[in-house]
Amino acid sequence: MDKVTIPIGPQHPALEEPEKFMITLEGEKIVGVGVRLGYNHRGIEKACEERTYIQDIYLIERICGICSHSHSTSFISAVEEIAKLDIPKRALYIRALVGELERLHSHLLWLGVLGHQIGLDTLLMYSWRDREIVMDLLAAITGNRVNYGINTIGGVRKDIEKDHIENVLKAMDILEERVKYYKEVLLEEVTLVNRLSGVGKLSTEDALRLGAVGPTARASSVCRDIRSEDPYGIYQELDFKIITDNHNDVYGRGVVRIGELDESVKLIRQILKNLPDTPISVKAPRRIPEGEALFRYEAPRGEDVHYVKSNGTDKPERVKVRAPTLANVVAIESMLKNGYLADVPVAIAAIDPCFSCTDRMVKVVDLDKDKSNMLNWEDLVKYSVNWYKDKGYDFTKIKLK
């Protein structure tokens, strides 16, 4: 049978996240996958070297809108290790609170994106509506829906007030009910279960061999979570489960993320219950003594790694960021092989890719290249939804309660 190569992408200003996948088909099955990243590379690491540590917090947290706090906390914690600062407990609790709220809104966003990729837009509407509860909390506590600016060297910039605490706890009660609902949908909605099962398969061995991280790895039974394995902040004082699943597919990745929503609700309640009465920051030097540090953080997408080297001035010598999606990209190729072209959108969406985290430089690309044989993302999603409709998976006929 003839092999046909279909490029999907590349960058288009209208696409949400610019990346390029080269899919080689034999008949309907995928026999080869190539991934070309770099369209969103912004030169952030270089830019960090020319700005002070405080300026860099604002730059680093804009690597990604949804993993914003993860990046900010990782960077600042590495700097604090070099400066040998003892961060007050209340600051660490507030960082953890914002981190878990971030995980909640990130996973809820993901649930909606997943729904959209398969044509189940009701799921998108419901989950993004529920997500607004978390966005409102973050806006009230930090002053912003994304890019919170809550961190500073030595602690946090804002304290959490009594009103905030009450509102967060009320919101957690509502979200707990919503999570129960999503769990039911994922268990009982047969069309959904069948649509997602067996898609994007990644064995435990391959997950480990290819260095997959986060929910992507945990859905292949890899029981690893940086909050537990290499605990940071106050996670050692908190009680939580690492959620894993053994389906090794997109369905499993859904089970894991919904389970983590539950755990984050529980964590937030513990954090607020045990919030100590200490200052929210310590004074930090402007010039950071020579040194280096490596920090790892469990971002919603998985292990986020930051390396910082200082040179005694107020600007870093080197800042290196390895965001979680880059670790999972290698696994995409393995997941898509032997699947159908129609599986591509949901399999890729299931690793919850944040190409902003992974590529960091903006450039406008000549769109006339490859025009004749390119599928942009929306076309591929439409193709996928129709392909599965022909096989009996019609999500327009599904009424979610």
Binding site: H41, G43, L210, G211, I226, D230, R296, Y307, R322
Partner: protein, 155 residues
């Protein structure tokens, strides 16, 4: 094994001097090695000590040399940052993809951003720079500065 035990084990096996290896804090070990000894030590740490997860690979421009730091972790969350270096005039290292299948993309970053040659790295597209990026321009080198942007005006 604890960090201290790992430090003892490695110091004995490879005769490290006190300056070459340190436990900076809990779960963080830092080791400096010359490139001639790199693979012998790397192999031992990955295979015998079971540091089986590659967290990241960092390139650093340190003037006369480029440092390459391999950050690898074990199941107990301990990270060994193994630092080696290659001369600035002819920077060249070998791939570690036999140990870590996912290392290819990190090696591509070193090639694109520092101009370090990586022997044996898998064939594939470059990362992260664009296909029309000019040759010989390595942005993360300290002597590379971005050009001033020009304002584009009509007429």
């Amino acid at each position: 094994m604890t960090e201290e035990q790992i430090l003892q084990n490695l110091t004995q096996k490879f005769n490290f001097s006190e300056e070459s290896i340190r436990v900076q804090r809990i779960r963080r070990i830092w080791i400096n090695v010359e490139y001639e000894r790199f693979f012998e030590i790397f192999d031992y740490i990955v295979k015998e000590l079971s540091f089986t997860h590659l967290c990241a690979m960092t390139g650093v421009d340190s003037g006369s040399v480029f440092e390459v730091i391999y950050h690898i972790s074990n199941e107990n969350g301990i990270v060994i940052s193994l630092k080696t270096n290659t001369p600035r005039e002819t920077p060249k290292i070998k791939t570690i993809t036999e140990y870590f299948a996912d290392a290819g993309i990190y090696e591509k970053e070193l090639i694109d951003l520092f101009g370090i040659e990586v022997e044996g790295t898998p064939v594939g597209p470059r990362y992260p720079l664009s296909d029309d990026w000019p040759e010989g321009e390595y942005p993360l080198r300290k002597d590379w500065k971005p050009k001033e942007s020009e304002a584009i005006t009509n007429g």
